[in-house]
Homo-oligomer: 154 residues x 2
DNA sequence: TATCATGTAACGTCATATGTTGCATGATTG
DNA sequence: CAATCATGCAACATATGACGTTACATGATA
């Protein structure tokens, strides 16, 4: 099964945009996201339509966040991507006439729906700001580690 | 995203096998599962390796359940299919060096794992027997409905 | 021995995420 | 105004994996 990495990818890009202070070009984002500028525009286009990011053409143009990071949840970003499939399994057919089909669909369908609901709830509970803070913590810890190693090296 | 319907499909086939009393051929299963005999063999092969079903060649051959239906969970069947992807999303790369990547992977990865654990727990709580009973209930209710309609028609 | 059924390889088909090229459009700079 | 930079977008290529199909081998039964 091919896994959709757009959500992971776009979050990576957005984190790079936070704190940049100036518009980030698709070219720069492409490097950070290890992909192609056109792919970046394609993915970001969805976020722009939802008012999550803005794009500017010409000199000094590029992508900027349109709102405060604390108001942007991962769920909203996920939906802006077109709400791709979460559960990679489904039914062969929607044949309500077959009782066997009904029994199977009920057993699996309930589970699929529950899992998707939990997923969305989790995404809705995390904002871009949360992610950014987490990143800063890691950065600080990383720097501390480097410093410690430097002291040891002395 | 292409949804994997093997689990749904194979459950459909297994329900048809229950109560058949005699081996069911791939040909017959293919009709019930709305697919091809070769596909049936391909999918059932995994279940056979796990000792869930048996296959017999020649006249009067076909597929039979190898164990009591109350000992077969949907989780086991799922694993016998090769444990296909549950969550249709993933990370672009596993680059532990990038701190941004780490922050994103942690936020999404935890959710992915939690969702998959819930999914497996749910599948583990349902046996083939449970499904079969559910089907019989539906069948009885269906017959009752038909009978009621017949009385009304009188 | 003929027939029936599975076992399996080797294809083809289709959907979708992703990669790539090319060109149009609009904004900025000189 | 012209050159440059950046996005916007169509069009096509590529890769992957589920699913479909054909062909032939193997083994069991009548």
């Amino acid at each position: 099964m091919i896994r959709d990495s757009r959500l992971s990818s776009v979050l990576h890009g957005l984190l790079h945009m936070i704190g940049a202070g100036e518009p980030v070009t698709s070219e720069q984002l492409a490097k950070a996201m290890a992909t192609n500028p056109v792919v970046v525009r394609r993915v970001m286009a969805g976020l722009r339509e939802q008012g999550i990011v803005r794009s500017e053409k010409g000199h000094g143009g590029g992508w900027t966040l349109a709102r405060d990071t604390s108001t942007i949840t991962l769920a909203e970003i996920y939906r802006a991507l077109g709400a791709p499939t979460i559960v990679a399994m489904g039914h062969r057919s929607e044949n309500p006439g077959c009782l066997v089909e009904q029994a199977v669909n009920d057993a699996l369908g309930d589970t699929f729906r529950e899992v998707e609901a939990i997923f969305m709830k989790r995404l809705g509970a995390v904002t871009l700001d949360t992610l950014a803070r987490d990143f800063k913590r890691r950065l600080a810890k990383h720097r501390q580690t480097i410093e410690d190693q430097t002291h040891v090296a002395k």
